[in-house]
Subunit: 414 residues, 2 copies
């Protein structure tokens, strides 16, 4: 089974937006044993979209086209697909139109009439109902092959791919094998370092052929080790993945912080919850980044009380009762952690103070970050050096602080 | 003149790396009046690279192929180009080989012999000398057309594009036109709504043919209106863009919040700075997101004092002196804004309280957000409905609150 990808949008040819949809789709398809051998970008031009669809259908069994489904005059993917389907008509779908009207009504906004362009469906196509945006997806048979259309907005595209397209492709492929993956998330080691540590396991897997192992770099979020197996049943696949997850964890130990959909912040919240502890944050250089990540997680309110963004030094002195003087050092980090722990009546205080740049501060170089942890059993702080670029320093500070708290909490029995 | 782009690398089809080369090239080409209408990704497969080159050469005057020039067995772009050139031979270029040997010697590293594969040049091609990596670029005539090969490593590719390829393309095109764009950033209107409002301008531009206008959706960040013109000189281009920017602003008014590299947060910080005002935030459902965005901007510390993430209701009552009772309503939002204004000694207080979901709170439905603004001249609050998905509600709350503050500040003279 081969499913190629076409992304549509003049802005994608010109770098106003980088296309990340096609390779994300390629990755998801590969996990289900479906190859994606050619991925094409064209602009908002009906003739070129049509030509690209014909070209890709020539070699592939299916094509996913992303983008060009919006309401405006330059959204012409629907027309191109109708042409490829043999010049079929586009007809309004009332259920789709109702969902569009409803979406505007719920947001209390006036609906411009051109939005109903999005309710046009080529005759013979099936609708993938829109649940997040206004544009529906489409499943469009072309002879024995198929074109899937999805919006270019990544979260809308991803939702439709997982919900409708992958199941349809798998059904068409007739392949009943189960391809399953497990992703182990690590923090604190380089890719070559992980590779070296896992040398023995990699050699054994190379010989066995299944499961396969791959490393995926996630930038600030660390590295993932992905195990993928192909088995007859879900149960058999889970057993294989359990076995090799245990092998990998045996070698990597606490470098593995989570698995699958877990994130560093969800892990920290779980550890706090298990121990009946509440958390408060005092953030300086990260300016609320740690708090915003924790509160993105459903159920954070069980354990997260809140925080102080003490960006100006006076806020540290006045509100957190940090001693007057330079504020990027371990004693100040401890005072911040203890200050917020006290002020917000939390069991645990976590603090970050540092120099995000571009210039040094009180003689402390750019990239220096002090992280303080105040636990019921006592307080301490560490200092780390996190590079020289502002955003990098801030993001690494976030993940470092959460990882530090994770490791400290894991030392305490729940 | 049309120059399409082919990027080569199996990892690019699978999301291990996102291709950013092709759209960067498209942007640079457009600046020189060269269109790039199709950009293709294929894996490290000589047959598919060759087929893609033939396909692109069919429609374009030139093709830039990026990647697959390395030393290993899966770097096969050279072979594919030689085939497209009519099956010419690959012969070693001694000058290139010397530079490769020299590079290893200077780094004090042993040179694996396979590196000399990179010195192979198709008969009839010209070398673009490598100055940063080991692989040279190639200029390969195919009939009256041309294929340029560059390494996939972005900084090596960019160097060769600017140094050799653009000058060669411009010379071939005989065209000296300047193509320039201006991006107007808007918030508060849907894509179809913008389209409708700009109907008259779009009709006039359609007739004129230049400048062109395009809409770019930026999700939570709003929509961009991009004007692009083709003129003889930079000065003429700037005049045209000035004229039509004024036309668009005349229609859209305060919907336009910025231009080019400006962001909603940079605009808010600039407005505060111009007015000599400091800001403090009280965030509940956004949990620090607003603060983290403001502090991502260099120079935020001039005006941003800090904030309180009052996630637990008790933090609102105890620290911000919000009246006991339900906390998602306009009076509570005003109390939060005034509370943080007072507590952090700021001129302006901005607050957000709302229901991010998944469940309603005190009978207030998911997606309800109250935003409070406390200015030196008085306080007030507004209520907005922002959807039902947690992350969407939070992100829309952020941009809505900044936009509200922007509009309020713009009513005050600096």
């Amino acid at each position: 089974m081969r499913c190629d990808v076409l992304v549509v949008g003049t802005e994608l040819l010109l770098g106003q937006i980088n296309d990340t949809n096609s390779s994300w789709i390629g990755d998801r398809l590969a996990l289900h044993g479906i190859g994606s051998l050619m991925q094409v970008k064209v602009g908002d031009n009906v003739g070129r979209i049509e030509a690209a669809l014909r070209l890709l259908l020539d070699g592939a069994d299916a094509v996913i086209v992303s983008g060009g489904l919006g309401p405006t005059h330059d959204d012409v993917t629907r027309e191109a697909i109708a042409a490829v389907m043999g010049g079929v008509e586009l007809v309004p779908d009332e259920a789709v139109a109702d969902r569009i009207r409803d979406l505007f009504a719920r947001r209390g906004r006036r609906m411009p009439e051109n939005n109903l362009r999005q309710a046009l469906v080529p005759v013979g196509a099936t609708v993938i109902a829109q649940t997040r945006g206004t544009a529906p997806g489409l499943i469009c048979p072309v002879g024995s092959k198929v074109v899937y259309a999805v919006p270019g907005v990544p979260h809308e595209m991803k939702d439709m791919l997982e919900r409708a397209i992958i199941p349809d492709l798998v059904a068409r492929s007739g392949d009943t094998a189960v391809i399953a993956s497990r992703v182990l998330k690590t923090w604190g080691e380089s890719e070559s370092g992980l590779n070296e540590r896992l040398d023995g396991i990699i050699a054994r897997l190379d010989e066995l052929g299944d499961p396969t192992v791959a490393f995926l770099a996630r930038g600030w979020e660390g590295l993932e080790v992905r195990l993928t197996t192909r088995q007859d049943t879900d149960v058999a696949a889970a057993l294989v993945l359990d076995e090799w997850e245990a092998e990998v964890r045996g070698v990597l130990g606490p470098l593995v912080f989570g698995v699958g959909q877990q994130s560093m912040e969800s892990i920290v919240l779980d550890l706090l919850r298990d121990r009946g502890l509440t958390l408060a944050l005092a953030e300086s250089l990260t300016g609320g980044l740690v708090a915003s990540r924790l509160t993105a997680i459903l159920g954070a309110s069980d354990v997260f009380r809140g925080g102080i963004v003490s960006y100006a030094s006076e806020v540290k002195f006045d509100l957190l009762e940090v001693s007057q003087g330079p504020v990027v050092n371990e004693p100040a980090a401890v005072e911040m952690a203890e200050g917020v722990q006290r002020l917000l009546h939390a069991d645990v205080g976590l603090s970050l103070t540092g120099v995000a740049g571009p210039a040094e501060q009180d003689g402390v170089p750019v990239g220096t970050v002090c992280i303080g942890v105040a636990l019921p059993t006592g307080s301490h702080a560490v200092t780390v050096q996190l590079g020289t670029l502002r955003e990098q320093v801030r993001q690494f500070a976030v993940i470092n602080s959460l990882d530090l708290l994770r490791r400290r909490l894991q030392l305490t029995a729940p």
